[in-house]
Subunit: 383 residues, 2 copies
């Protein structure tokens, strides 16, 4: 039904009217005092969200651009890096590192499983010559709905003493606790169409002082993604290139909404929605794809054993105007994913579970009694 | 006065309500059939605007990102290139080329003067070994309001036989004729906040078949700006990374408006506005900064001899809510620039001239009789 679509994908996520309206203003000059005020305010808000006193820089681009910027601004050709890979985004950072001629050691886990922090500790402890310059990993692996133990892995990196932690927090930031400073993260990359409750188009990269030291020796070629000019202009509440001015308006409004809700409340909401989505799926007899205890607070991947996930997903869209995400790459048809990231309330999660359950039964694919899923989800939301 | 600002800067340019409203919709999934339809339609529209049958790819980023993409996707480390430099953007492409280790020969002209096509012909004819891989230049130099003779320079490049023409058409495309195919341009880069009548955030890079051949041998490292995946996904009406979905909505609406107006009519409008701005300034005794006959159809730079350009510019903003652009770098205070690019009608130009004239006289800086400027501008608009 026209204009009735509800997004329950891991991005773009739903956008509040307040944010859409802020974005819909006429643009202003990006070198004007009025725009500088927006940059100043959003910079403070971004520091709040990242729980950091570091620079948080804004790039017009996707989350991949921010993550690439983090990598190419802190490393040099031939540098040894350790990349975690347990999904499509882990794979992507390996590709980026290789594209720039880095010497990449990959620590893998099966899709659906978390990265093993001990594997990182072992690699870092074995590196007595301190050749490893960075550990690159994904916090919330969007393709599999797995959350990796970034805190522990980052602690191992700190113990190493030389390496930086470069973290893809694209679907974790704003959904769960990512205290950049207290975890000692060096680069945190994220994107606007996720926990930020904004349309896509802006991405964010926070850089620690250690990361800036590494920037000084970095020799990888870059221009648009060279973070030096971003830092220099950010100090004057400006940008090196014309930024997406209207998305900045949206950013200011969205972060204001997040500050009003409060960080703890946001994280609790995401945890509650994860619990409800997981409980609902389990009660319908639909197995979760992520290993127990490692489900992402942003997204629940479901592997509906013996059921065509694409058929189910399409039927949910056609009948209920709810867009779920499909499986990526080899998971296509085997997995569907429920996004519960950003501007999502209890009603949305309850509705998604009910729509999935109803569709399952209408396709004669129900494995448990109609209503079991909804009951379990409701109970999880109430608890 | 709040919400009364009129932008007469070379970007962001004014945005029609139709475009703002299209942008203000709730985002949809970027992998959905509905979004594929938007990509398909805008791709056709972009080909129309570029007068080409080539690929026109959409990047979430600024015009600089598009231009950098054009350079790094067609060249290899150590390649010899010739860069035209007669302003801030010419300078920028020299910097980009050097950042990637290209061997750069710079052909300069003074700021305010056009590039000399013969200088390019001479350099290309002297290159009997065909070492020059590309000629990189800016069509409309935004910093100085000069339009370079891209058509003639491109013809010299074609005569060379090997080199590509990589053109920054950021403030020329949509303002004046840039027939990519008939001029034999290989890379055309542009940005949304210019002739496109859109907010900033999207940029565009069109690539000829010759450019794609060069892509195959290009060895410069890239990932977010690697155009190969953009081409591959564009063939399926999709994108390699999450694009700025809402800006795509705006793009579709803006290009529809442009198609309705018609290309000739758009170009004539820009030419008329250039004539009016130039006539108005001259009649007020304010010298134009660009050499005679080389004024850009997008922007008129004025060097108000003996008058503080920043003082005038600020007074026009304070009194009339019209934002003019200042001079960049060493031109700050010496030059102001009137943007007449994109969604600008005769009323806007007439008003800008009147506001500048009125401000000039109120500051007791008038050099001619009050009304002379307006009369000249009106006459130019009528002719």
């Amino acid at each position: 039904m026209q204009d009735k679509l509800t997004l329950m994908i891991p991005g773009p996520t739903p956008v509040p009217e307040t944010v859409l309206k802020a974005m819909g203003r006429h643009p202003i000059g990006h070198r004007s005092g009025e725009f500088q005020a927006v940059v100043q305010r959003t910079t403070e808000q971004l520091r709040w969200l990242h729980q950091t006193s570091n620079d948080v820089l804004v790039i017009t681009g996707s989350g991949t651009a921010a993550m690439e910027a983090g990598i190419i601004n802190t490393l040099s050709r031939g540098d040894k890096v350790v990349c975690g890979d347990n999904g499509k985004f882990g794979e992507r950072w390996v590709k980026v590192a290789k594209a720039y001629g880095l010497d990449v050691e990959v620590i893998k886990a099966e899709w659906g499983q978390p990265l093993d922090p001990n594997a990182f500790r072992n690699a870092l402890e074995a590196d007595t010559e301190k050749a490893i310059r960075a550990v690159i990993l994904t916090h919330s692996e969007t393709s599999t709905g797995v959350i990796n133990d970034l805190e522990t892995i980052s602690a191992h990196v700190r113990a190493h003493g030389t390496a930086l932690t470069i973290a893809d927090c694209v679907t974790s930031l704003g959904a769960t606790n990512v205290p950049m400073d207290s975890w000692g993260l060096d680069v945190v990359a994220s994107g606007s169409q996720k926990g930020y409750m904004m349309p896509p188009g802006l991405s964010f990269v926070a850089m620690s002082e250690r990361a800036w030291k590494a920037y000084e020796r970095s020799d990888l070629p870059k221009f648009y993604l060279d973070l030096g000019p971003y830092r220099k202009t950010a100090a004057k509440n400006s940008n090196p290139f014309t930024p997406a001015v209207n998305l900045y308006f949206a950013l200011e409004a969205a972060l204001e909404m997040m500050q009003t809700e409060g960080m703890e409340s946001i994280f609790n909401r995401h945890a509650r929605h994860r619990a409800a989505a997981q409980a609902g799926m389990k009660a319908m007899g639909l197995p979760l794809y992520a290993a127990d205890g490692y489900g992402s607070p942003a997204i629940t991947a479901v592997a509906p054993d013996g059921i065509d996930a694409e058929q189910l997903r399409k039927a949910v869209k056609d009948r209920f105007d709810i867009l779920l995400a499909g499986g990526q790459d080899h998971l296509k048809g085997q997995v569907f994913r429920i996004g519960h990231l950003g501007f999502v309330c209890d009603r949305d999660v309850l509705t998604a579970v009910a729509a999935i359950e109803s569709t399952l039964h209408s396709l004669n694919l129900g494995k448990t009694k109609m209503g079991d899923g909804l009951a379990a989800a409701a109970a999880a939301l109430n608890s």
